[in-house]
Amino acid sequence: METIIEKSLEEVFEEKIANEIRIEPKDWMPEQYRKTLVRQISQHAHSEIVGMLPEGNWITRAPSLKRKAILLSKVQDEAGHGLYLYSAAETLGTSRDQMIADLHSGKAKYSSIFNYPTLSWADIGAIGWLVDGAAIMNQVPLIRTSYGPYARAMVRVCKEESFHQRQGFEIMMTLCNGAPAQKKMAQEAFNRWWWPTLMMFGPKDSESPNTEQSMRWKIKRFTNDELRQRFVDMMVPQAEFLGLTVPDKDLKWNEAKNGYDYGEVDWEEFWNVVKGNGPCNKDRIANRVKAHEEGAWVREAALAHAQKRAQREADQKVA
């Protein structure tokens, strides 16, 4: 009989990673893996709920009942995504309360894209088309991420984001085929959202210390620059189709690499926004903190009522 070789927990973990076997909540995992996932999943969840704010901003002013319904449905989906993702993160031993406390204190981040304001109806189209488009590009590989609950949550999230992206493109198409004022609105929104969207893929690979470890653990499947390149290559033809001008004077097709060369991202702006100096950073967090604090009495009441009800039920059983 073959001697059973006692493998280390580390080796078992690495073997599963290598063999594309999902890591599940009950499995052992390196502490750093756990931390990376909590950070990443909670940031994703935070992004969904903070992301409700710039889009929710236009629900009451949506220009038709159909568009109002679609936007309301989308914002509702974002709340749902937040719920899935907080639940997925909780399987790693943290709590929603802790994650939300981290968001409010500034310790945890959310996607910087949501620190930009939505200044016209066309922004809703641009967000759906560009921001959800970038989100999908970031997220689709996560369907194959090594952590099971995250991967399964992403299946549903990606399906809905894909729908959202199509709806955003549809808004842009309607505007670009509309009156001059609508086309102008679309171009202006495109101008404001293009570069911040490219920033969504994160810093250059040369300045992304976490990437290597995350890719080794198959939390990430592609580098930031790889995804950014693919995004540009996909969006530029769509912009051309819409008749929109990409706000990048350095954009140019590179036959050799079969892709576009594009201008330098304004990394100073990127880091400013990451550090809290974006146009809406203070506003978004203030809104979340306000909702949380003003809702404290509601949560307390729900808890108190549940306890009263449980007590009454217990008393009935005894009686």
Partner: protein, 247 residues
């Protein structure tokens, strides 16, 4: 007359849905953010069906959007209750509860209307209204039978909003004639059922049902509160600023 009534129903669900949608991203609990968005969406679906039907009844080429976005406040027929501000979560819950109780009763009976289009819309929306009433009733109970703070707030909400509940069951001339013709139900039995439900929920919530409160009216005949003007300024802005465009 049928057009008038259909517009009244559509205006009502549009404005209440609008108020609920103001909560998006600002709720006290993520699940309730989602629930309110869900109810707003349900109401918007009902709204669209009703405006589309109203546009057909009118037969002058106007669309659902024309009816929502291009009518002035004085032409709106929603009752005063639904245009009241969100206030805090207790005000929102109480406004929803008072309306859901009426909505549930009305849709339940409207399913039997010989006016088949209204009956179909009522049938489609009744299931949603049932869920809405369950949700708002449970929250009234949680708040009334929660903490002292939540009880104080729900009682304040009752004090703010009860005076608008009566109008739901007051019939305009249009409603009277439609009821007489058998197109819509009489409201007296609906009120009785509504009162019974409120009494039951309030008892469980350890809340008193108000007595002898003067009931305000006017919304159904175009005399609103000062609130509606601001709602419409926001709601209608884009279609007013850029008229005649496709969005």
């Amino acid at each position: 007359m049928l057009l008038d009534y259909t517009l009244q129903l559509a205006d009502t669900s549009l404005i209440l849905g609008h108020r609920l949608s103001e909560w998006c991203g600002h709720g006290p609990i993520l699940e309730q953010d989602l629930a309110m968005a869900n109810i707003a969406l349900d109401l918007l679906g009902e709204t669209r069906s009703l405006y589309q039907y109203a546009a057909e009844l009118e037969g002058q080429g106007r669309t659902e959007d024309d009816l929502a976005y291009l009518r002035d406040a004085v032409e709106y027929k929603n009752p005063l209750l639904v245009e009241q501000p969100n206030g805090d979560f207790a005000d929102t819950i109480l406004r929803q509860f008072l309306f859901d109780g009426f909505h549930f009763q009305l849709l339940q009976q409207l399913q039997q209307s010989p006016e088949q289009r209204l009956a179909a819309i009522a049938t489609k929306s009744f299931k949603e209204a049932s869920y809405h009433l369950k949700w708002s009733s449970e929250w009234v109970i949680r708040l009334g039978d929660g903490t002292e703070e939540s009880k104080r707030r729900i009682k304040k909400a009752i004090n703010n909003l009860w005076m608008y509940s009566g109008e739901l069951f007051m019939m305009t001339e249009t409603e009277k004639q439609l009821a007489q013709a058998g197109y819509i139900p009489e409201y007296a039995p609906l009120l009785q059922n509504w009162e019974a439900h409120v009494k039951k929920v309030f008892a469980e919530a350890t809340l008193e049902v108000p007595q002898n409160v003067f009931m305000h009216k006017g919304g159904k005949t175009g005399r609103h509160t000062e609130q509606l003007g601001y709602i419409l300024a926001e709601l209608q802005y884009l279609q007013r600023a850029h008229p005649g465009l496709e969005w």
